[in-house]
Amino acid sequence: MAMGAKNNKPTKTVRPDPKDPATIKDRLLAKYPPKVARKRAKQIVVNKVKPGGDVPVISSNVRTVPGLIGQRGCCYAGCKGVVLGPTRDIINITHGPIGCGFYSWLTRRNQTDPDSGDGQNYMPYCFSTDMQDEEIIFGGEKKLKQAIQEAYDNFKPKAIAVFATCPVGLIGDDVHAVCREMKAKLGINVFGFSCEGYKGVSQSAGHHIANNGIFKHVVGLDDTVKEGNYRINLLGEYNIGGDAFEIERLFEKCGITLVSSYSGNSSIDQFANSHTADLNLIMCHRSINYVAEMMETKFGVPWIKVNFIGAAATAKSLRKIAQYFDEPELTAVVEKVIAEEMPAVEAACADVRSRTEGKRAMLFVGGSRAHHYQELFNELGMKTLSAGYEFGHRDDYEGRRVLPDIKVDADSRNIEELAIEPDPERFNPRISEEKKADLEAAGLKFAEYEGMMPEMEDGSLVIDDPSQHETDELIKQFKPDIFCAGIKEKYAVQKHGIPLKQLHSYDYGGPYAGFKGAVNFYKEIDRMVNSKVWQYMRAPWEEHPELSATYAWE
């Protein structure tokens, strides 16, 4: 087999890097004022996986140093942009000055298929109260109320959500009171999010606030049990570039019923009855684990971690689902589907692997992608030299085993933790404790995410919330063959002559999830690491600056 479909590790040994990671770390820190260097030193870790899976502690989910230039966004971006943005049939009103709504307008590439539902789709629209100085001085609640009314009058949506921006919290507008009032008046679901940009230390706070809000205001409103076998929710999949469509295709082929997606290609109606599913699958642990935890406590729906990035990971995730439901029929279909899908993947991989083998990658992105995409690079025979998250927490790096050790600081304490109790009528553990224990003994782990670092090689550099300076130094030191990050890093990295693959927007390509996505990614990386473009940077006269002419005559 050309690629290790069942084995993530590269089949050929990659040439060892002569660079000592500890020395590189020192170099990254050398320029910093002492206090900054001390702080950053805890966020830059040389990986070392101990037997049993323990890894070094990495400081993460901590404040960004002012002036250092990182890539993080804000709480509003995490709440409105990431988690709620991909749901098509809610009118999302940004309560604040115009910018926040404008910048989060269609820029995240969450695809959706409204005609698979009732045809409603407000995602191509941007709704804002466009706050003026008048409202900053006298309060914006009146304008917000009127804006909700106008949204209703013009569009008659089934739900309206309101997102608070920085000044709203400062002037003390009570968006929740306004939403309650308008909900009663209009008779549709209207709910608010206090996701002011300054909350928390990154967009991660916004994910948490979004999870809380959906859980409080939407989940459990509809107890209708959707027909179909093997009923699951897919959480933390945002349908960038059509990823969710590819995963949905596989579910359909396997006879697995998708009740709700959080939140790629989703509708609010799906959230409302998502608690009727029998299993929650988590893709992006960082952004969505809260909903899964709350749903388990309140309704008894267990969750497992999956990953549909990478062909081997996709196969593994499908097998995990089959293992959970433990029906021979499903197991057989899943195996059949994997057997059907893999030949095309293997052929594509075999084609590109001779050109990608041994190349070196770096990934600094998100709260799960920097981990997940290492799967695809492994399949291509490429080595991940260094990786890190923008807004991950320690559990995303080191695994949930460290959760009890995480100190909650002031910034995180300000984010509400909902007190959830089992629902008196609807709590229904989907599987018995004995069954769960049996499955765990067989290797299926519930409510577990092992994190990125245990799967990375010893000596690789793990860097949390890297700065512009560190990125620049890393590139100069390692000269990787490809760098994966986002739009803000893209062109600075490429000026160095090194291709950058955007793993937020996929550079407007994709899908990269599932089997078809893996093939797309192999081809894309082959294109990028073998592009001729980077040879064009020097003109002939820079290569040969001598002035005497030679005359060629044919």
Binding site: I69, P97, I98, F102, T165, G200, A492, H496
Partner: protein
């Protein structure tokens, strides 16, 4: 349908903006600051602001856009951002070593009332601003005006902080190009050079946001107005401000501070817009217009006459920033086209709206104008009274596709096409390019829609 819920029926809205035709002040301030050589823009707000602004500018230019942030947390929002900004200034000069840091405020820091000059004084007293390095700031609350206002405020701050009069008048003319593309700034300078006029242009984003690929990343690229030039701007013979909304505050400030007289013009866009610029520059500098420039003008007029039949009477819907919209309206009217739906998202004022109404006074059709308006209303107007052509930024493509109407991308942002960074639309050459774009859009549609019998080889 992309915008499937847009109702044809227009209901008056007083509180809800849908599909805005503007964004907030800070991004304009960031763009202007990038037009200072060796400058690192700094956003005094939470991290989301600079992340969004950098992303938006990067998508538009496909170039690195580096800026820093005070990274406000909840604590800073309560106790004020002084500690964050002082620390940021220290870190920026230590780690990145720019010549100058240009701080702009945000709705967050404005609402809590941070006093940036006082914070600068503290940073200087603490020795955080090294010898020979500069800081400047503009107050840019997001809840006032638009991105164009932010640009105007940062441009004015360049005057407030640096312009000085040395008591003598140099031969230089200050050119304030307005919120235009780096390519436009290059073109405006080229025209002045053709006329032999020494100039100081600020801001100047040419070679900053359209730099080359060489294998070396320079955080502070070659372009941009230098602090030395900004200082000397106070001794220039005069100032030409292009675009009332974006450039007038800086020109007025220079007049007040250093007694440099100014002329406030529209953008040098289209035939008459460029004529006004060239004529003003000629008089101000006391030079004559060279043959080369007369040739360019003549070629433009020649092309207009050659292709007039395809332009005449065509109905156009136009949305964009105020200075561009006014100049484009005048150009379209000069071409005998009919701008019938006109919107800018920027609250540009009554005087501005009056100029716009004067510009369309002779158009033989009903003309809708809204200042400020949004792109939902713009779309509704088009639904109610269709047009032959839409001119607007990338977001207008959703309208264009739904209404099956040709689109010319113009303005900010353009996220989905190459060109604006490199090919100017200012000056006679730029007008020729605009003319080409207009004709391409109109004639491509004509060819597409022609049945076999009506297909024309020659046009």
């Amino acid at each position: 349908m992309l915008l499937r819920h847009t109702p044809t029926e227009i209901k008056e809205r007083s509180a809800l903006t849908v599909n805005p035709a503007k964004t907030c002040q800070p991004i304009g301030a960031m763009y202007a600051a990038l037009g200072i050589h060796g400058c690192l823009p700094h956003s005094h707000g939470s991290q989301g602001c600079y992340a969004y602004h950098r992303s938006a500018l990067t998508r538009h230019y496909k170039e690195p856009v580096v800026a820093a942030t005070s990274a406000f947390t909840e604590g800073a929002s309560v106790f004020g951002g002084q500690a964050n900004l002082v620390q940021a200034i220290d870190n920026i000069f230590t780690v990145y070593n720019p010549d100058v840091i240009a701080v702009h405020t945000t709705c967050l820091s404005e609402t809590i009332g941070d006093d940036v000059p006082q914070i600068f004084a503290k940073a200087k007293a603490d020795g955080k601003v090294p010898e020979g390095k500069y800081v400047l700031h503009a107050s840019t609350p997001s809840y006032v005006g638009s991105h164009v206002t932010g640009f105007a405020n940062m441009t004015k701050a360049m005057v407030d902080y640096f312009a000085e009069s040395n008591g003598r008048r140099a031969k230089t003319v200050n050119l304030i190009p307005g919120y235009v593309e780096p390519s436009d700034m290059t073109e405006i300078r080229r025209i002045a050079e053709l006329m032999g006029v020494p100039t100081i242009m600020f801001p100047d984003t040419a070679k900053v946001l359209n730099g080359p690929l060489t294998g070396k990343y320079r955080m502070f690229p070659e372009g941009g107005v230098t602090i030395e030039e900004l200082k000397k701007s106070g001794s220039s013979v005069g100032t030409i401000a292009m675009g009332r909304t974006a450039s007038m505050p800086a020109a007025r400030a220079l007049d007040a501070k250093c007694k440099v007289p100014c002329e406030i013009l529209g953008l040098p866009l289209g035939l008459h817009g460029t004529d006004a610029f060239v004529d003003t520059l000629r008089r101000m500098a006391g030079v004559s217009v060279p043959a080369a420039l007369n040739l360019e003008r003549g070629q433009l007029v020649d092309s207009i006459s050659d292709w007039h039949q395809y332009l005449y009477g065509k109905r156009v819907a136009l949305v964009g920033d105020p200075d561009q919209v006014l100049a484009l309206t005048r150009f379209l009217v000069a071409l005998d086209m009919q701008p019938v739906h006109i919107i800018t998202g920027t609250p540009a004022g009554k005087k501005y709206e009056k100029s716009l109404r004067e510009a369309v006074a002779g158009v033989p059709a009903d003309v809708n104008i809204k200042v400020p308006g949004d792109m939902l209303l713009f779309h509704q107007w088009i639904k109610n009274a269709p047009v032959d052509l839409i001119i607007g930024n990338t977001y207008a493509k959703y309208i264009a596709k739904d209404e099956d109407t040709p689109l010319i991308r113009y303005g900010f942002p353009i996220y989905d096409r190459l060109g604006h960074s490199y090919f100017a639309t200012m000056g006679y050459r730029g007008a020729l390019r605009l003319l080409e774009k207009l004709l391409d859009a109109i004639l491509d549609r004509k060819d597409r829609d022609a049945d076999d019998i009506d297909m024309e080889l020659v046009m």
